[in-house]
């Protein structure tokens, strides 16, 4: 507070002067100042500013309770890199990279180059790479070039599959777990 007060005046006079001046000062610049600045803008830049207000609408529709947990990658979006989510992902765009999610849905016109990991992966688009999931669904429009590691698979008539289908999803994880645990378990025994 002290930094905003003038120190070169005596406190009595400045308090009186400030009190008299401040209400007048606050009212006059605060109100007319935004008016001339804001008023001409909608005229000159009406088009760029208007869509900002419309952006709020899809946001509120996608998120019923604040921010949404799940993700939608629309067909206009291309992502180069890794995606990791602890929730659902719907992909309608193009992705160059790995995708990790819980329920991953790859839409009709989507294209994924990379490995797709998940609990449940539904492919209706193109995947160039591996799919590793507990449950894999390849629909009639799917174009899958790469291996599928699964526990439970459904392939609809019309789906293109070029690669190996291995029912080793749980097994590889279990095998890795045993590999990791077995040396750790054997080492103390060996040391003793």
């Amino acid at each position: 507070m002290t930094i905003f007060q003038r120190t070169d005046r005596t406190p009595d006079k400045s308090a009186e002067a400030d009190n008299a001046a401040k209400p007048a000062m606050r009212d006059t610049p605060a109100q007319p100042e935004p008016a001339p600045v804001i008023a001409p803008r909608p005229q000159s830049y009406a088009q760029p500013i208007a869509p900002v207000s419309t952006t709020a609408k899809p946001q509120s529709s996608t998120s019923s309770q604040g921010a949404p947990m799940s993700s939608v990658i629309s067909k206009a979006l291309k992502i180069t890199g890794q995606l990791e989510s602890s929730e659902d992902i719907q992909i309608d765009g193009q992705i160059d990279g790995d995708v990790r999610g819980v329920h991953v849905k790859i839409g009709n016109n989507a294209k994924v180059k990379g490995t797709v990991y998940g609990e449940e992966v539904e492919v209706a688009g193109t995947v160039e790479g591996k799919v590793e999931a507990k449950k894999v669904v390849l629909t009639a429009t799917a174009h899958m070039s790469g291996d599928v590691v699964h526990q439970d698979i459904r392939i609809e008539s019309g789906a293109f599959v070029d690669g190996h289908c291995k029912p080793e999803f749980g097994k590889t994880a279990a095998a890795k777990a045993t590999v990791v645990t077995s040396p750790a378990a054997s080492r103390p025994a060996a040391a003793e």
Binding site: V52, P58, Q59, G66, P68, V72, A76, L77, I79
Partner: protein, 136 residues
């Protein structure tokens, strides 16, 4: 950089933007890499990398690091990096570190900005073919 002529011809671009569904990256999603879109992108999660789109909305929960290039950008969360946009809106919950290259900027009361907000003329964004590698 981003198609400015589209912005000038108001009606068709508005129709195009209304057509496709905006991409929405949820709070649970983490993206490392580059995002390119000619539509709208809403980000509520974590992104590190470059984002270019027609319009970008950063939700209150987001944590974004990198450069953003768009015609219009609305920031409601944490962002560090550079912004290149004609219209920039910083909401009250925004926390921005870095530079905001803008033509029009709106800052809500309460927004936290650490850095600079250089104004640029329209032709700067028009001629911006490549982002300056070194921070100017």
């Amino acid at each position: 950089m981003f198609a400015l002529p589209r912005a000038k011809s108001g009606k068709p671009s508005a129709r195009d933007r209304a057509g496709p569904v905006p991409s929405c990256l949820g709070t649970a999603l983490t993206v490392t890499g580059r995002l390119d879109s000619d539509g709208e992108v809403h980000i509520h999660g974590t992104v590190s990398g470059r984002i270019s789109a027609d319009s970008i909305v950063l939700g209150a929960t987001c944590i974004v690091e990198g450069d953003m290039v768009a015609r219009q950008i609305r920031v409601g969360g944490r962002f560090s990096g550079r912004i290149f946009a004609l219209d920039v809106t910083l909401d009250a919950s925004a926390h921005v570190e870095g530079k905001i290259f803008h033509h029009n900027v709106t800052v809500a009361r309460g927004a936290q900005i650490i850095g600079r907000m250089p104004w640029r003329p329209l032709n700067y964004f028009d001629s911006l073919e490549q982002l300056p590698e070194i921070q100017p």
